[in-house]
């Protein structure tokens, strides 16, 4: 079983569009949405939810106003500015418990918080494990780990050839949690100077964690000179380009219809997606 995680560094380059198309093209796989705080893959794959699980995040502090004497020791102890007017802001609290330790009146308790849910669903393209982190919660990395673990377990159980994961943007906690231990990072870039800058950073993260990378240039014809820069950069770094996908409004039309673009039309975009999947599958 090979786990392929689709990343980009910069957001909005087309990760979900690519994953949805590969979902329709690849056989014998389990799908996984690791972008738990802005999940979109389910909007295209139209899943039927089979299992719902609760995700309990970090504990947060609560101050009992009846017991609190207003001494302010917790205020000075908290390094996250989470205590204002002797009330804990649950969105800022990182659950360290410093306030609990310093309170001379034992007015502080740490309570569990339901931080979101994760789901095991069926789609036309196979099982999908996905999640929804509640707005503003911590620990997206931990939820990503839970989702990935389940997707891998299902794949192992069913003897699937691939786990195909839609990753989050950025390079921090949820990206590291999505990437570490995967067999391949497929990086979706676009020919903007911003996306190139972000591509270089996300490739450095892949190197840091020892995960091989393959790059796809989306909307390559918006700036062919920048696309050549990406190709030159990748050639020097020894990274293959899986496909170059042109800008086409058919991609947005497919999102609006809620179907993978490869099932929406048989134009150049679909051809290039097929080329991309061949390049991915050829890795093994």
């Amino acid at each position: 079983m090979r786990e392929i995680v689709v990343l980009s560094g910069k957001g909005g380059t087309g990760k979900t569009v690519v994953v949805a198309s590969l979902a329709a093209l690849a056989e014998n796989k389990v799908l996984c949405d690791c972008d738990v705080d802005a999940a979109n893959l389910h909007l295209v794959l139209q899943p039927t939810v089979r299992e719902t699980h609760e995700f309990w995040g970090q504990k947060v502090a609560v101050i009992d106003q009846e017991v609190c004497t207003g001494c302010g020791l917790c205020l000075d102890a908290c390094r996250f500015d989470a205590i204002q007017e002797l009330q804990v802001d649950p969105l800022s609290c990182e659950g360290c418990g410093f306030c609990l330790h310093v309170c001379p009146e034992q007015a502080v308790t740490m309570v569990d918080t339901l931080a979101g849910h994760w789901y095991v669903s069926d789609t036309r393209y196979g099982p999908l494990v996905h999640a929804r982190l509640d707005a503003g919660q911590e620990n997206s990395g931990k939820l990503v780990a839970a989702v990935r673990q389940k997707a891998r377990a299902i794949a192992k159980d069913k003897g699937s050839a691939y786990v195909l994961s839609d990753g989050p943007p950025g390079i921090g906690c949820p990206v590291i949690s999505s990437l570490s231990g995967a067999e391949l990072a497929l990086i979706v870039s676009e020919p903007s100077l911003s996306a190139i800058h972000d591509l270089e950073r996300v490739l450095a993260v892949c190197r840091h964690f020892g995960v091989g990378a393959l790059v796809c240039i989306n909307k390559y014809d918006l700036d062919e000179e920048n696309s050549r820069r990406i190709e030159d950069y990748c050639r020097e770094a020894g990274i293959d380009i899986g496909a170059k996908i042109p800008f086409d409004t058919v991609v947005t039309d497919a999102i609006v219809q809620g179907v993978p673009v490869v099932e929406f039309g048989d134009g150049v975009v679909s051809e290039r997606m097929e080329e991309l999947w061949k390049a991915v599958a050829a890795r093994w």
């Binding site: 980009s8 910069k10 957001g11 909005g12 380059t13 979900t16 705080d37 802005a38 979109n40 909007l43 970090q58 504990k59 102890a77 390094r79 996250f80 969105l91 800022s92 990182e94 659950g95 360290c96 418990g97 410093f98 330790h101 310093v102 982190l133 707005a135 503003g136 919660q137 911590e138 620990n139 997206s140 989050p168 943007p169 950025g170 390079i171 921090g172 906690c173 949820p174 590291i176 676009e190 020919p191 903007s192 100077l193 911003s194 800058h197 950073r201 996300v202 450095a204 993260v205 840091h208 909307k219 918006l222 700036d223 920048n226 800008f247 409004t249 947005t252 999102i255 609006v256 809620g258």
Partner: protein, 283 residues
Amino acid sequence: MILAIASGKGGTGKTLVATSLALSLEGQSPVQLLDCDVEEPNAHILLRPTITSSRPVLVPVPKVDRDKCTYCRVCSEACPYNAIAVMGKNVLVFPELCHGCGVCTYVCPEEAISEEGREIGVVEEGRAGEVRFVHGRLAIGEAMAPPVIRAVKQRADRSSTVIIDVPPGNSCPVVEAVRGSDFCLLVTEPTPFGLHDLALAVELATKLEVPCGVVINRAGSGDQEVERYCAHQHVPVLLKIPLDRQIAELYCRGQTLVAGMPSWRKAFRDLLDSTRRLAVVGR
């Protein structure tokens, strides 16, 4: 005024809006742009500031004095992040798991723990024309963006208009970047993806008690559902930027909208005026 530019979904045009807003104030009033997307900062690509200072962002991590430690495990039991562990006659610190909260240092009965700074990124400052510029960069392989975001926000000068470029998503880095702002502009695109993540972002802004309004980028593509949602939720749509290949090409080359198409300057000034009015009403 502090104005946060957020979106939920990535790549909707936050940086495009933030940089053009900042430039539209040139010659009018002092403006500062804080790029809080410290995982993938991009505002510098469009503004091309001259960086004049760079300082490391340090998070405090525990340092254990082996001569004083009695291996009593009080520290490891108190740490909710499993960042410090006692194994026989050995104390292990996992700095990448440490949030720097200071609890282990406080609870140690032997005063065997002190703290040392560990660098997880940098904050750079400079100037692009009249725009005072600050951004943070999380180091490769580091997981925790919020301390770097906090360090960027500490540079905010409330006597000027402060524009914050917020990271994508809806979790802790966004909370860190948006909280304390007077108004939050949510940049979205008129697609089911844009709408889904916009609804989460509106929920988050409401939780943070920051009034918000919407900018629809690539207007004219997709469908009408974002506008329907905004009307229904009484979230004002303050600006629409059309889907236009020329705008996309400008962005690819790293040019701001107001520099590449100066006729947009007025629209961004008006947008800023709208946010100022709504920030007052919202409070």
